[in-house]
């Protein structure tokens, strides 16, 4: 079976071949183009060039229905299930087995669920309601759904992103069984440990291009460097930090999400005046929640946040902004700007009621426009007019508007989440320069980023987060390999020990690889321990 496929906007001439009965991992960072590519395969998007071949036959999908008919099943990152349906109804949805008179043959669907469920020991009750099932079971329903339509190729898009470690292990064993039955699996992920555990072959994608094939025998260190890529290293010029007092402190911060999962787990750190602390980590390891808790969007369950000697506990977002925190949210279009608002109004979004923009209850339109024009100059924002809606700007310029707002006042702390996500190289450089300028003016800065390039470009110190904990705080001179291991949960000292020497020469490389393997196993064990501990804490 061959699939050739190329030249999609987010995918630049990508060729991919999947053999029958293999688990093929597609590895890449966020936004590398993995999901786009799979959506093309599944018929959700149209390819702008290239072909898809199944058993050497070119096929054309005009929708997911065609893809399903051709034997491709997909389990999306966000499940496509109706919460109030039963399992059997969910599985029937989309192809609906019918009896005479067009009645829905739910018995047939139920039988199918039971049959597939027992074949793979899924243990799923066909009459259970979707909304009552845990996430892992919902995922299995999605898999059953795909299999019930005789899928020969199963695409799993970031399947472990939402799973607990135990559920992940279960999923991995399910994938092994499927493989034994001859199903090919495309496994999209950025988690190295899982790839090594299960994949038969690995394709690494970076920025829409295939950067190489890797074998599952590769170490996590090798995979990490391949995934992150060294080629494009943004060298941001900056002087050494001249850190002052630690005016911002976080102690034993614990945050619990709505489903009572611990998302930030007993985190403590300091940020000093005039330094940038980068919070690195794979997406979804608690960094977002950490940033939102600092600005006050989320209430912590435990722990304290102190700025300039004053506790921020119980303070509203407005109080915190007033206390001098500048915040660049992760999701710019949702949280950072109001698309319908004029550019100048977006520039005062969180300072609209302060001098000089307002006098009493009156907005001072002229001042707002004048200040906006000044910022447009200063931040080199390319626009037609400051009264145009901000939605007319490119992502990079929108982000500059956000930065001009947050950096345009005296700050006591600056937090930016993914400040350069989705930006072009020029804008990234500009953003980095402004952040460093803010640091040099003595503001403590926290940069949350999943991009290692960015972390290295900005950080004076790096805090690595993994499943809600800070694995370690290390210097900016730590190697990428060590950082990669820490992002997979390996403690700082082990990661450092495992990776010293790799750069010395090939002689040591083998030894280091072995060590890395051991370290990864150790990390696995450590995970289980921490999971248990946090579970106990929640109780």
């Amino acid at each position: 079976m061959t699939k050739v496929f190329g030249s999609f906007v987010a995918n630049d001439h990508i060729d991919l071949t999947i053999e029958p009965g293999e688990i093929h991992a597609l590895l890449g960072e966020n936004g590398a183009g993995k999901s786009t590519m799979m959506n093309v395969l599944y018929g959700l998007y149209d390819a702008d060039g290239g072909d898809i071949l199944i058993d050497d036959e070119p096929v054309k999908f005009s929708g997911p229905g065609d893809a399903v008919a051709a034997g491709i099943g997909m389990v999306h990152q966000h499940f496509m299930l109706v919460p109030v349906f039963t399992v059997a109804e969910s599985v029937a949805l989309g192809y609906e087995p019918t009896k005479s008179l067009g009645l829905l043959d739910i018995a047939e669907a139920r039988k199918k669920v039971t049959e597939i469920s027992s074949r793979f020991n899924f243990n799923i009750d066909p009459d259970a309601l979707i909304e009552d099932l845990p996430v892992g079971a919902q995922q299995r329903v999605e898999i059953i759904k795909a299999l019930s339509r005789d899928a020969e190729i199963l695409i799993l898009d970031e399947p472990t992103a939402v799973l607990t470690p135990q559920e992940t292990d279960e999923l991995i064993s399910i994938m092994r069984q499927l493989k034994e039955q001859g199903t090919s699996i495309v496994f999209i992920t950025h988690k190295l440990r899982e790839v090594r555990a299960i994949a038969d072959s690995i394709t690494v994608i970076r920025r829409g291009k295939i950067v190489g094939e890797a074998s599952p025998d590769s170490t996590e260190t090798e995979l990490a460097s391949q995934m992150v890529g060294r080629a494009v290293s943004l060298t941001t010029e900056k002087d050494d930090a001249d850190p002052g007092d630690a005016t911002f402190q976080v102690r034993n911060l614990t945050v619990v999400d709505k489903a009572e999962n611990v998302v930030v787990d007993d985190v403590s750190f300091d940020v000093r005046r005039g330094e940038i602390l980068a919070v690195a980590g794979v997406q979804g390891n608690g960094q977002t929640e950490l940033a939102e808790t600092i600005i006050g969007l989320t209430e912590p369950r435990l722990g304290t946040i102190t700025l300039d000697g004053k506790s921020l506990g119980g303070a509203s977002v407005k109080d915190r902004l007033g206390a001098g925190i500048g915040f660049v949210p992760e999701d710019r279009s949702t949280d950072g700007i109001i698309a319908e608002f004029a550019i100048r109004d977006n520039m005062i979004l969180d300072v609209y009621d302060r001098e000089p923009y307002a006098k009493g209850l009156n907005l001072r339109s002229k001042t707002i426009t004048a200040e906006a024009k000044k910022k447009v100059e200063e931040f080199d924002i390319r626009l037609g007019s400051v009264v145009d809606p901000i939605s007319t700007l490119s992502g990079g310029n929108q982000q500059k508007v956000v930065l001009s707002r947050e950096l345009g006042r005296e700050l006591r702390l600056f937090i930016a989440s993914q400040p350069t996500r989705g930006l072009d190289v020029g804008s990234i450089e500009f953003v980095h320069k402004r952040v460093i300028a803010e640091r040099d003016s003595g503001t403590p800065c926290i940069i949350v980023s999943t991009e290692l390039d960015e972390v290295y470009g900005l950080a004076d110190r790096i805090a690595v987060m993994y499943s809600g904990r800070i694995v370690g705080v290390v210097g900016a001179d730590t190697s990428r390999e060590a950082l990669g291991l820490m992002m997979a949960g390996v403690p700082a000292d082990e990661a450092l020990a495992a990776t010293t020497g790799t750069s010395d020469g090939s002689d040591h490389a083998q030894a280091a690889t072995d060590e890395a393997g051991t370290a990864a196993t150790a990390a696995g064990t450590a995970d289980d321990d921490s999971a248990t501990t946090s579970a106990e804490e929640t109780k």
Binding site: I295, L297, S316, V317, K318, D319, R320, L321, G322, F327, P329, D331, R332, S333, T334, D335, G336, I337, I338, A339, E340, F341, D345, I348, L349, D350, Y352, D353, A358, L361, N362, L363, S365, R382, G384, S385, P389, S391, T392, L393, S394, G395, G396, N397, Q398, G422, D424, S427
Partner: protein, 410 residues
């Protein structure tokens, strides 16, 4: 003419000065062509055309002439146009200026009557429009009008107060009544997430039936009559007339003008309005910017309800002078239409309110003089809203360019 409707090119380099000027003019032209006010205007024209068809169909003479169409096509068309022309000219004479009137007073009276009918629509419409702009569907105009009218009316005959003061107290009571009624929906929405549409609809029913109950209680109505209606309000609490006797134009119209200016200031010039609009457009960003979404939700509903309550007060203190079960008429629902037609802008709502007032005033004359059922006017109103709700429909009928698509950040 081909119009560039594609979204702005991402991260385009700044165009040279001259090009930027061109671009600006292009945008201006585009804004005028795709401007929503033009759509509103065209919607009214289309609705009137459709109304014309209905007038023709419902007219016996036209139908008779149609049967003889092949024998006398000329007669058919003359009957057709004269029927529609008569109906609409009666509508116009009843609503704006009656050139057939014997006295100058009578000739301009229709315009003032339109203002009188428009007053509660403008006030209530402003309340609905304000909520729309803040992302809230206040369907409860009816209930808020009833509450406003009930309290204003009751204070109007129950309190012994000197003139003007009495009126102002009653008006204030109406404002508070509407504000509380809408505030209930606001608090429920902010605290429990209850859908404001459902809550306000239910509050409409409650207000309607509560008034029905009160009108049967003698302590409330201050009458001994068995009719479900109240005593006439004191002269001291009536909204004074702006013009001498045959005219009914009252102080409420001044209030409507002031309220329009107030809402404009609130939305476009105040920090409160900035919060309102921010929450309406993107509650996530508003929250991140330190704006309390629940506080804003409650305040918006209170202000909206206050405006609707004012509309109810103007109706009872300026026009009706007593409380009846039908005091609110269909003001609360027409006001939704008015707000939609006015694009939820203060001036637009004001003008739309006047237009609907004119339809109401003119409809009577049209019915009495030409026998055209007043229901036609209701159909025209409904068609306007229908077309407003589907701007692409109007655009495609008149082949207007689609407005510049807003670029969505992915």
């Amino acid at each position: 003419m081909t119009t560039d409707i594609s979204p702005a090119a991402p991260s385009a380099a700044p165009p040279p000065e001259s090009e930027a000027e061109d671009g600006k003019q292009q945008t201006l032209l585009q804004e005028i062509l795709s401007g929503s006010w033009l759509v509103s205007l065209l919607a009214i024209v289309l609705a009137l055309l459709l109304g014309g068809v209905l007038i023709a169909v419902s007219n016996a003479e036209v139908v008779a002439a149609a049967e003889n169409f092949f024998a006398a096509p000329g007669e058919f068309f003359s009957t057709l146009f004269s029927t529609i022309g008569n109906a609409y000219s009666a509508l116009f004479r009843g609503a704006v200026f009656d050139w057939d009137a014997r006295t100058a007073e009578r000739a301009i009276r229709p315009l003032t009557e339109s203002m009188v009918s428009g007053t509660p629509l403008i006030l209530t419409g402003l309340g609905i429009a304000l909520a729309f702009r803040c992302g809230l569907f206040n369907i409860g105009g009816q209930g808020q009008v009833i509450l406003g009218a009930t309290i204003a009316g009751f204070l109007g005959y129950a309190l012994p107060l000197p003139p003007v003061v009495h009126m102002l107290v009653a008006v204030l009571g109406g404002i508070i009544g509407g504000a509380i009624w809408a505030g209930i929906a606001g608090v429920l929405k902010a605290r429990t997430g209850a859908n404001e549409v459902i809550v306000t609809i239910m509050l409409n029913s409650i207000a309607g039936y509560a008034l029905g109950y009160l009108l049967k209680q003698n302590w409330f109505t201050h009458t001994t009559s068995a009719n479900p209606q109240s005593r006439v309000i004191d002269d001291s609490s009536q909204m004074f007339l702006l013009l001498p006797a045959p005219f009914r134009l009252h102080f409420g119209f001044i209030i409507a003008i002031l309220a329009t200016i107030f809402v404009w200031w609130l939305l476009d010039r105040s920090t409160i309005g900035f919060e309102f609009k921010a929450v309406g457009a993107n509650p996530h960003a508003a929250r991140t910017a330190g704006i309390s979404v629940s506080k804003v939700t409650i305040i918006v509903m209170i202000v909206a309800g206050a405006l609707a309550g004012l509309g109810g007060a103007a109706q009872v203190l300026g026009t009706e002078y007593k409380l009846t079960g039908g005091i609110s008429g269909s003001i609360g629902f027409d006001a939704i239409t008015v707000a939609l037609l006015g694009r939820s802008k203060p001036l637009g709502t004001f003008l739309a309110g006047l237009l609907f007032g004119a339809f109401k005033a003119g409809g009577y004359l049209m019915q009495s003089q030409t026998g055209t059922p007043i229901d036609i006017v209701l159909v025209v109103q409904s068609v306007i809203v229908l077309l407003i709700a589907a701007p692409p429909l109007v655009r495609s009928i008149f082949r207007l360019p689609t407005p510049v698509l807003k670029r969505k950040e992915d």
